[in-house]
């Protein structure tokens, strides 16, 4: 009976696809844009996708997949999430929240938990979203990434209701603040917020920083990573992943 069933219901599987699936991380994170690793492996085997579509796999695995398919792949620079908010517990809370520990659920009740309406509220939607346990909320109430555990799938970025997580290359620097409030107000409520003073704009040798809506923004294409702005910022509001 079993012999009959195994013959009758036998499914042809491309051996290449199986080998590729072995090499993919198997987290089904969906960062490639397909429903899980099986779907991605099938498409890679059919040469519809390039092996480096998977951001989660290590470069060694990607290279092995490339060997299976007989194509050469270039290494992508690793990207990890960075929180564009440095406030956390250093930003004034208006009230004590006592409900579901999830940012998106908390946002439904009130968007005014912190005095700053742009900043991180630290209830950990991103931590829950991470399939690799790479994020945690630190003692400052802000999410921090373990850059070795992170595979750069970007699910946390989608989970953040405030939209203050971005994927950053390890060498890049960002203004770690998203507040568009006036500088005076930011100074009152937050220890590290960008007050839009413009010192970094003047200091930047490659003219990569602009001020929009009381907030300094670094143009990553122009930035050469000299780090002068990090030193010059009077609020310590500029920094990178490390």
């Amino acid at each position: 009976m079993l012999v009959w069933a195994s013959r009758k219901f036998h499914v042809e599987i491309d051996p290449k696809m199986e080998a590729i699936l072995e090499l993919l991380p198997g987290a089904n994170c969906g960062a490639c844009g397909y429903a899980g690793c099986v779907a991605a492996a099938e498409r890679i085997a059919k040469r519809e996708l390039s092996p480096n579509v998977c951001t989660s796999a290590s470069f060694a695995s990607i290279k092995s997949i490339g060997e299976i398919m007989g194509v050469s792949v270039e290494e992508k620079e690793k990207e990890v999430p960075i929180t564009l908010c440095n406030g956390g517990v250093n930003c004034i809370s208006i009230f004590r929240y006592d409900g579901v520990e999830d940012c998106r659920a908390a946002m439904l009740i009130s968007e005014m938990e912190k005095a700053c309406s742009y900043g991180c509220i630290g209830h950990g939607s991103c931590v829950k979203a991470c399939p690799f346990d790479a994020l945690s909320i630190n003692e400052d109430g802000l999410p921090v990434v373990d850059e070795y555990a992170c595979r750069g799938c970007g699910l946390c970025v989608d989970a953040c209701p405030k939209g203050i997580l971005v994927m950053a290359k390890l060498s890049e620097v960002y203004v770690l603040c998203s507040s568009q409030d006036k500088g005076k107000y930011v100074k009152e409520i937050c220890e590290f917020g960008c007050i839009g003073c413009g010192i970094c704009v003047k200091a930047c040798p490659s003219e990569a920083i602009t001020l929009t809506n009381n907030l300094a923004v670094i143009d990553q294409e122009r930035c050469n990573g000299c780090g002068i702005c990090v030193e010059k910022c009077p609020r310590n509001a500029i920094g990178g992943v490390r």
Partner: protein, 367 residues
């Protein structure tokens, strides 16, 4: 004793407007249109238009009006309007009522929400207005019957309404149990097989004001509980909570929680600067609040027992917590009326309603 006290003019009002028709520095009069369906409730100068706290926990664009004097625009009541004209008047007056063709208009006169007695007070103070407003609603929807549901314990209101009611209007005594007054449930409690429109006595009063006086919706009755004097206050839309609480004698001590619209469905406010909006009916101040730690669900099913919609809140809450919104959808999370009975009954203090709201929002986002 007077049931409803009228507030003196507040120093300033904050009125949420989505698309303001006025500019900063402009002088406005009482009843002047300042946005689509929004009217100034005082006369004075618009001092600011900016994002300000709203009782629903968001910052919304609002106009701040500093009061000076008491000048109102000339209200022009319309005599004997047609149903279409009534609909137009109600819309113009900014009354949030949806008029659909129906056989019966039901008015909710019960005070089923804890710490709220606004409906009872309205019926004692304005019986004529409510009956006339109901007549107008019946005319606009083409209904032949009007029913006012009144709590059995409010026998004085029942007597007054029975004395003033006219042909085609009935009063029905209702058990004052919580969730009875929610729109669909009230309809279900009174009538099963007819097209009915459900509204409240406060809405009927507003409709009367709009049609017979030409006055837009600029004031509402709010029950204030927990201040020095517990009162029903006729407050202008936009009055900051602080002014109303001062009118009621101020705080009794250090307030711990200020809840707008009752303890079951209301929202705790971070500041007493938020304004009264259309649809605000209660302010509750608590002084002794204990925050309790949430424990895991033990499937005791107390929430299942109390759910008026016969849902399984325990399944919904656990699924939402585990981000299994597909299960929530299967278990009809959309039918939840968010009454809060489950969260109240829960011995583990699980914020069930918030989890359900979360699931609903996530499902809506997926669509």
């Amino acid at each position: 004793m007077k049931q409803i006290t009228t507030m003196k003019m507040p120093e300033k009002v904050v009125i949420p407007v989505s698309e303001p028709l006025v500019d900063v520095g402009e002088m406005v009069k009482v009843g002047q249109k300042i946005g689509e369906g929004e009217h100034s409730s005082v006369s004075g100068e618009v001092v600011a238009i900016s994002k300000l706290p709203h009782p629903f926990g968001k910052s919304v664009l609002s106009a701040v009006i500093k009061t000076s004097g008491d000048v109102s625009v000339e209200f022009q009541p319309k005599k004997n309007p047609s149903p279409d004209e009534i609909k137009q008047i109600i819309k113009e007056a900014g009354i949030p009522a949806e008029l659909s063709p129906s056989d019966i208009v039901i008015l909710n006169g019960t005070d089923e929400k804890p710490y709220v007695t606004a409906n009872h007070a309205l019926m004692l103070e304005y019986p004529d207005e409510i009956i006339k407003g109901l007549k107008i609603l019946m005319k606009a929807t083409g209904a032949s019957r009007g029913i006012i549901g009144i709590g059995v314990s409010d026998s004085d209101a029942m007597e007054i309404m029975n004395a003033t009611r006219e042909g085609g209007i009935e009063t029905i005594p209702l058990k004052t149990t919580y969730t009875q007054g929610m729109e669909d449930l009230l309809k279900h409690a009174i009538i099963r097989d007819a097209e009915a429109m459900v509204s409240t006595v406060g809405m009927a009063k507003a409709v009367y004001d709009a049609v017979f006086m030409g006055k837009p919706l600029i004031e509402t009755v709010v029950t204030v509980t927990g201040a020095r004097e517990t009162q029903n206050v006729l407050a202008r839309i936009g009055t900051p909570l602080r002014s109303i609480i001062e009118h009621c004698g101020g705080y009794k001590g250090e307030p711990k929680k200020i809840i707008v619209n009752g303890p079951m469905t209301g929202v705790a406010q971070p500041t007493d600067e938020v304004p009264v909006i259309k649809g605000t009916y209660g302010i509750l101040i608590q002084y002794d609040v204990q925050m309790e730690e949430t424990q895991p669900c033990i499937d005791c099913a107390r929430c299942v027992d109390v759910c008026p919609m016969n849902l399984l809140p325990n399944v919904l809450a656990t699924s939402a917590d585990n981000a299994r919104f597909d299960i929530c959808a299967t278990y009809r999370v959309v039918d939840c009326v968010e009454c809060g009975a489950c969260a109240y009954a829960c011995p583990s203090k699980i914020p069930i309603v918030q989890l359900i709201k979360y699931a609903k929002a996530e499902l809506e986002g997926e669509e």
